[in-house]
């Protein structure tokens, strides 16, 4: 018998030889008993079996690391009720959809028998720009509903074309179409008047976009000219809207001061280029993940350095946790030391466009933590008596800084005593 391949070895370890046998996928008409007998008698295959068993076990360890600990299923009754409710809802909806489709198909089919539209009809885009006030009024006239509520593309195309004799259905205009036409009218009016348009909702948009909004040229002094007669009322109202509603003249600093929050990263498009890169604007604040607008970011406002060590290599550690900062430093001896700073309750910020702001700790809290600090004014590091050997052969010492409620893990190829000595040389890397 040939040696057993690794796939079969794993099937054997997994207890799946019978499944292979039942599927007729063992070679040369062998049975699972034949494979077992071979494994008993062949030392070479047994050795490979043990090696594969170890691989399987180690893979199991890795998978367990990526596994959730406790998973309790919610009550089944709730699930059953949801499923039943969905089925009850789905049935009438299916009927309604069928009826709608049938009616729509019938309507569309009957439209096919009508003569085609005249070629002289201009496109909606061309005609919309030359609508007269009368046509505009006609376009806004209430239209009788189509038989099925279904509005064919043909009907919307007709909105700006003169009705032909065969057309019995009045033009139907949807709201977006109206909006587009009016916006176009407004642009035409602006071009004629030589003034910028200030949309009614510009204030809201600008307040969301403080960083990117360019100041409007003399926007506060824009005098709305008399609207040309072709304009609809709505467009005229937009032009008459006071431009001062847009806070474009408010600087970033002013807007931040108004909210009594402290900026630590200035706004600007360059921040977006720092995606996933440590961004440091001020020494006492670190943002270790720059994100797109609308996301939240976590900052660590404390980090620790070793005195007399080489320039630290600061690094965000997204592979560890969002609240962790990792700092690597090299001692004169060449020993690499890894400092991991972890805060129990890091500062969480919301990013509004590219403006990043954060609140400082309240004075009450600052006084509270100061009371816990050591008498000598040192950071008040307390060894948590947690030193141990890591799986990669390095030692780790864990310390706690009560003043900033920060945990620090020091990892290096050093003894526990040497780590404790290093801990004494630890200084806070902030400017507090």
């Amino acid at each position: 018998m040939p040696h057993v391949d690794e796939g079969m070895l794993h099937a054997y370890i997994d207890g799946a030889l019978d499944a292979l046998s039942e599927a007729g996928e063992l070679p040369d008409g062998m049975t699972s008993e034949d494979v077992v007998a071979h494994l008993d008698s062949c030392a070479d295959c047994r050795a490979r079996l043990e090696a594969e068993r170890e691989v399987r076990e180690r893979a199991g360890h890795v998978l367990r690391d990526a596994s959730l600990a406790q998973i309790e299923p919610p009550p089944f009754a709730g699930l059953e009720a949801t499923s039943r409710a969905r089925r009850r809802r789905a049935l009438p909806l299916a009927w309604a959809a069928s009826l709608l489709m049938a009616a729509g198909a019938g309507w569309w089919g009957s439209a096919l028998w009508r003569p085609a539209p005249q070629p002289e009809a201009r496109s909606a885009a061309e005609t919309a720009t030359s609508l007269t006030a009368q046509e505009e009024a006609e376009a806004h006239a209430p239209a009788p509903p189509s038989p099925s509520g279904f509005i064919p593309a043909e009907a919307t195309e007709r909105t700006a074309t003169p009705p032909t004799p065969r057309e019995e259905i009045a033009p139907v205009r949807t709201d977006p179409q109206v909006g587009r036409t009016e916006r176009r009218d407004a642009r035409i009016a602006d071009r004629d008047a030589g003034t910028p348009v200030v949309a009614a909702d510009a204030g809201n948009a600008a307040s969301r976009d403080i960083a990117r909004a360019a100041p409007l040229p003399d926007s506060g002094a824009v005098a709305a000219p008399a609207a040309p007669p072709v304009l609809g009322d709505r467009a005229r109202v937009r032009l008459e809207q006071p431009a001062a509603a847009a806070p474009a003249t408010q600087s970033f600093v002013e807007s931040v001061a108004a909210d009594a929050i402290t900026p630590f990263i200035t706004p600007g498009p360059e921040l977006l280029a720092f995606e996933n890169v440590l961004v440091r604007e001020r020494a006492d604040r670190l943002l270790f993940r720059a994100l797109a607008s609308g996301d939240t970011a976590t900052v660590a406002d404390q980090f620790f350095l070793l005195e007399d060590a080489a320039d630290p290599e600061l690094e965000i550690a997204p592979e560890i946790a969002q609240t962790t900062l990792r700092i690597r430093q090299v001692l004169r001896t060449g020993t690499r030391v890894e400092l991991i700073t972890w805060q129990r309750q890091p500062v969480t910020l919301a990013l509004e466009e590219v403006v990043v702001t954060g609140r400082r700790a309240s004075p009450e809290r600052a006084g509270d933590v100061a009371a816990k600090a050591g008498d000598d004014g040192r950071p008040g590091l307390t060894s948590a008596a947690r030193a141990r050997l890591l799986s990669d052969g390095r030692h780790q010492l864990v310390l706690y800084d009560a003043q900033s409620d920060t945990w620090i893990a020091i990892r290096a190829n050093l003894s526990e005593a040497e780590l404790r000595e290093l801990a004494a040389r630890l200084t806070r890397g902030t400017s507090r």
Binding site: D5, E6, G7, M8, H10, A11, D14, A16, A19, L20, A23, E25, L26, E52, V55, R56, R58, A59, G60, V62, L63, D65, A66, S67, L68, I71, E72, P73, P74, F76, L79, E80, T82, S83, R86, R87, R289, L291, G294, D295, T296, T298, E319, I320, A321, Q322, T323, T324, R336, E338, I340, W342, R344, Q345, P346, A384, S391, D392, G393, W407
Partner: protein, 169 residues
Amino acid sequence: MTDWAAVYRSTYPDLVRYLHRKVWDEERARDLAQEAFTRALGSAGDGALANARAWVFRIAANLAADEARTATRRRRHLTLMTAESDAAATPDPLEAMERAAREAAARAALDQLSERDRETLLLWDAGLSYTEIAQQTGLSVGAVGTTLARARRRLVEAHAGLEAKHAAR
């Protein structure tokens, strides 16, 4: 008739674990598991299914694939929020940090596997038999063992490589 309550109780934890390794978001994994069961119940009705567990996993795999295609941005946001809430709730920060580090390393190693290898490995780890995995992945039963052998070896190698890289830095 399928005893869905029993299937639910026995399958739910494995299903959530499987989905979590696909979307890397615990809450989302739980939501998807609920949705998979709801859909399975809805489509099966009162009839009997030959293998309800495998059926639920198939639905879940499709849901996870859809999720991966459409929810990148939302997931990133949720991941951040989850990390924050985990951090606040954990009594021992170092323990949490190390657990997160282990999970990140395992995740990175899993991400280095090919789609087929990863899927086969995750389905096996979720408790599906070779026959069920074969039905779900389109592999032959014999190829499941070979695929698993390769996936396990690559997972271990990738993980070891990451650890070595980490230690060398």
